[in-house]
Amino acid sequence: MSWLTKTLTSSIGKKLLMALTGLFLCTFLIVHLIGNLQLFKNDGGYAFNNYAVFMTTFPLIKIVSYVNYALILFHAFWGLYITYKNRQARPVGYAVVKNSSNVFSRNMAVLGTILLVYLAVHMSDFWYKYHNEALPYVKYTEQISSGNIETTMMETGYTQEAKKVESLNEAAGTKTIIVKDLYSVVSFSFQNILLVLFYVLSMFAVAFHMFHGFQSAFQTLGWSHPKYTPLIKGIGVWVFAVLIPIGYAAMPLYFYFLK
């Protein structure tokens, strides 16, 4: 065995892979949230739909997103594998257990599994549809001088080769773009109370997972210091376990109640 496999298959190495992938996914959480904040823009989905095109066409982003998908799957299944191995370390269980540890920390695998199911639903709801189904198209006509945007739905059955068709009408002083209307898919989906509930509850799972996960990753990396660890723990709780899940949960709630 080479030193690398030896390291990574040791008990600490296994956790290192969880920590590193976990932290990567933490950055994804931030980026994804910031991107999706455009859903809140009152522009008929102009910014959001453009963003969707950018995310699915820009080569570097594409690579990153496929890496991201792979890491999500790795993080999930590697985590389940570690959990399985850890279970084997105690073949006979206790009759009575009074836990002195944090409940989330003990149930990362359960929370993780919930999140995996959530991701499957989420991806099939939007990602799969965006890539594979006949989505409605929308045309945005921008008045260049004023910046006013006019939104027109394309007729049913309209389709185009490119993800984004852009044209300039110099005479009229307008810029026209036609893109898939993911925004209205989102808006439509979140009219379903069950789905909204599922999304919101899943965000609790995110919160709990992050409550332990973020600082735990630093502990696994060995980054512990009396001066900085409290800061890391604070970020883990307030940013990753509170702010970010609230941000995500706000989206379905926004569409359900306000749109």
């Binding site: 080479s2 030193w3 030896k6 390291t7 040791s10 008990s11 600490i12 190495g13 296994k14 956790k15 290192l16 570690i82 191995k85 850890n86 084997q88 370390a89 105690r90 073949p91 006979v92 269980g93 206790y94 009759a95 009575v96 257990v97 009074k98 836990n99 002195s100 540890s101 944090n102 920390s105 003990r106 990362m108 332990h212 735990s216 502990q219 696994t220 990396l221 060995g222 980054w223 512990s224």
Partner: protein, 250 residues
């Protein structure tokens, strides 16, 4: 007071065990938990029943031999004490107390509440030392060690090797035990020459013994009778990963 006990009885490593019920009368609040077991065992002998086997030795909280999992917690409900220092005044008259052995694949049950913790010895033998033969040493004061470092090393060295960390951890992980020794020696100048190999070898041995991996739940430190800090586990992670990357062994 009267205490009802449910105690794990198991004849040996090959058989399976079960919880048996006992009742102990005339328990004094000043008794230690183990003295309550002495009373019970004496009673069992009088009744011609085989006494309960349990590990114990110094009965002053330092040898690390006693090892009872009491009402779901290693060494019982109090913080920072071993079973032998737990006194009956902590319990109430009529309480039912469930007593089990440490449970871990790496700590097979020998009998009743007695388990085999020799895995810990093998981990120490794999690197928990400074290789200094008798007679090799220089003058003790020729190696000044700052008080803060010395105190931290001492706090880590306070581990008594009882195995409560393993018993408490949902993964039966031995990380707190291993990290305490690695930390003690990594913090001291004496430990530097073997710093890398120590971390690598001790972790390898720990894994070979069948302990689980650490998932940072913190139960070990919360239940440690010597209050060894989680900080040590972070240090072990650091030492191990650093050593994996920088050691020249391929």
């Amino acid at each position: 007071m009267t205490i009802n006990l449910k105690v794990w009885k198991q004849k040996n490593a090959k058989t399976s065990g079960s919880l048996e019920t006992y009742k102990v009368d005339h328990v004094s609040p000043d008794m230690s938990f183990l003295e309550m077991f002495d009373v019970l065992n004496e009673k069992l002998v009088q009744e011609n029943k085989e006494p309960i086997a349990f590990d114990h030795d110094c009965r002053e909280g330092i040898c690390g031999m006693c090892s009872m999992y009491i009402n779901g917690q290693p060494h019982g409900p109090l913080e920072g004490v071993t079973t032998c220092q737990l006194h009956m005044r902590t319990f109430n008259d009529g309480d039912t107390i469930v007593v089990e052995p440490w449970r871990s694949k790496a700590f097979p049950v020998i009998k009743d509440l007695v388990v085999d913790r020799s895995a810990f010895d093998r981990i120490i033998a794999s690197g928990g030392y400074v290789s200094v033969n008798t007679g090799n040493a220089q003058d003790a004061n020729s190696l000044p060690i700052g008080k803060d470092k010395a105190d931290m090393a001492f706090a880590a060295a306070a581990c008594i090797g009882c195995g409560a960390c393993v018993a408490a951890c949902k993964n039966a992980s031995a990380m707190l035990f291993v990290s305490a020794k690695v930390s003690q020696l990594a913090l001291l100048p004496q430990g530097q020459p073997e710093r890398e190999s120590r971390a690598l070898n001790m972790v390898a041995q720990m894994d070979a013994e069948g302990f689980g991996a650490c998932t940072n739940t913190g139960a070990c430190a919360a239940e440690c009778p010597k209050e060894i800090s989680l900080e040590n586990i972070a240090r072990l992670n650091r030492e191990f990963l650093g050593a994996s990357i920088s050691s020249t062994g391929v």
